[in-house]
């Protein structure tokens, strides 16, 4: 059974003083309902997640105590993607006709604080100063640049592109384009990654209403169809965040597994995708994820960025809404923001940043600690 996304809602990303993360989630949920002209009463189920802003299911006290099935989802940076996947399965199973996937968050300023023991790692790992996600990002792209001859120029171009796109997105946090020199001269954070190549923890909320495809028409003529949803965890030998050791033999990243599974499920290939959102926690991640998701060969990113292939008018626009770099990272909402953007693009409602020539297919990808990946493929 196909599944349709019939309604989408967002609370602007960034910093919203005086509004809790939960309230931002509620706002997004109401926007999604309004988008398709439905009421909270019409929802048969919901999957929701937040990593730092409370239990998603407590939203019911504000949205209404209708007695629906509401399940909390917690899967690191892939929380939103996992909520969507759960909602997809709930409809595919035939158990429900219509429901919601929602995510929100509100993180303190500064780098994410990690509790190593919660991830099954020794306390010493944090004590000594190693349990930091920016270090992992720095070390993974460092090795990748060494193996595939990628230069700093490509890292800079990714950041410039995403901030440029973010400036065209009214819901983005960072709405200032940075020049090449701004990025190139920003402070070094974790070599080779500089300040303006990183996203920051942020706030925001996002919600989608999903429905059996054969019933979607009764609600809207604007449906976007989920052709594939896949979530995979790491296998032995892949290079993941918070790994105190690594195997000598490398294995493909969980993104490769999720991407392959999703393309198989959708029955199309990377060359058929018109617009993509790829996890860009920092510039290096977008570069590696271009190849891990099958869009280009390892090492080709240098040429792709130089020739503008991932710009809004390029052959594969990537992170048209500014990605995590311009929107920041509210962990629970991030994956759904990507889906929101693809829906806008496929509905032709992306305004100033609309991909030309009526894109028909879209792709989203998230990566989360401690090594999992979620991919969706959508079609208009």
């Amino acid at each position: 059974m196909d599944v349709a996304i019939i309604g989408i809602g967002i609370h602007p990303f960034g910093r919203t003083e005086g509004v809790t993360g939960l309230e931002q989630g509620v706002h997004a949920a109401r926007e999604a309902l309004k988008d398709v002209g439905l009421d909270w009463n019409d929802m048969e189920f919901a999957y929701g997640g937040s990593s730092a802003a409370g239990n998603a299911d407590s939203m019911v006290s504000k949205l209404g105590l209708t007695g629906l099935q509401f399940i909390n989802v917690s899967n690191g940076c892939a929380t939103g993607g996992s909520a969507l996947q759960s909602a997809y399965m709930a409809i595919q199973s035939g158990m429900f006709d219509i429901g919601m996937a929602v995510g929100f968050d509100k993180h303190p300023r500064g780098a994410f604080t990690v509790n190593p023991e919660a991830s099954g790692l020794g306390k010493w790992y944090g004590d000594i100063g190693m349990a930091l996600t920016p270090q992992f990002f720095g070390m993974k792209i460092q090795r990748y640049m060494h193996e595939y001859d990628i230069s700093e120029d490509t890292l800079i171009r990714v950041a410039v592109k995403n901030f440029k796109n973010g400036a065209k997105n009214p819901n983005a946090w960072r709405r200032n384009a940075f020049s090449y020199d701004d990025v190139a001269q920003s402070q070094m954070v974790c070599h080779p990654l500089r300040k303006y190549m990183f996203c920051s923890p942020a706030e925001g909320g996002c919600a989608m209403i999903l429905c059996r495809a054969d019933k979607a028409k009764q609600y809207t003529s604007n449906s976007v169809f989920l052709k594939a949803v896949a979530v995979k965890t790491r296998q032995f030998g892949s290079f993941e965040v918070f790994s105190q050791s690594q195997a000598l033999d490398r294995a493909p990243a969980p993104t490769v597994q999720a991407s392959t599974a999703a393309f198989e499920m959708a029955g199309i290939g990377p060359e058929d995708i018109d617009v993509a959102q790829l996890q860009d926690t920092e510039s290096g991640a977008e570069i590696m994820h271009m190849a891990e998701n099958g869009f280009c060969a390892d090492g080709d990113q240098e040429q792709w960025l130089r020739e503008g292939h991932t710009e809004i008018d390029g052959k594969l626009p990537v992170n048209t809404d500014g990605g995590c770099l311009a929107n920041g990272e509210p962990v629970g909402a991030s994956g759904l923001r990507q889906v929101y953007e693809i829906c806008l693009q496929l509905r032709g409602e992306a305004g100033e940043r609309q991909v030309p020539n009526n894109p028909k297919t879209g792709y989203t990808h998230v990566y989360g600690a401690p090594g999992l990946s979620g991919v969706t493929i959508m079609a208009a």
Partner: protein, 146 residues
């Protein structure tokens, strides 16, 4: 120099101690031979449950690296620096021949010289002082500084 009795490892079971020639402690799977660090009871490669503790090599090559450019959040960080005294430090993976790649802080006089492939040596030395005792931890250092 404090006596060995006044030097406390940052965690039990990470390296041999007390010792004049400490080694990192890993585990090796009896079924598939895969080595992990720190030692653990199950094998992440073959799902076997039969692992034995082994001492790891003390020399290896730098496989990748970065430089931690800002003072990490406390908690969890317990390093002695203040925002005023903080100096960026190296972190990397050192590949120990035929065993495993180990994540480590890097001690060096010159972080600008870090390169993939450079020879590295294990050092076990003081990290911080706590309650009058030295808390010791493992690091790797470029072999040409040993």
């Amino acid at each position: 120099m404090p006596s060995i009795a006044d030097q406390i490892p940052i965690a039990d079971g990470l390296f041999t101690w007390p010792s004049n020639d400490p080694r990192l402690l890993g585990s090796k799977c009896a079924d598939c031979g895969v080595v992990t660090f720190p030692a653990q009871s199950g094998c992440p490669a073959c799902c076997g449950e039969d692992t034995e503790a082994i001492e790891l090599e003390r020399k290896g090559k730098l496989w990748t690296w970065t430089i931690q450019g800002f003072l990490p959040n406390r908690p969890p960080y317990e390093g002695p620096e203040t925002p005023e005294t903080f100096k960026p430090f190296g972190v990397g993976y050192v590949e120990l021949p035929n065993q495993v790649r180990v994540e480590t802080r890097i001690q060096t006089e010159d972080i600008a010289k870090l390169r993939i492939g450079m020879e590295m040596d294990l050092v076990v030395e003081k990290f911080i002082e706590r309650d009058g005792k030295d808390i010791i931890a493992y690091f790797f250092r470029p072999a040409d500084e040993s």
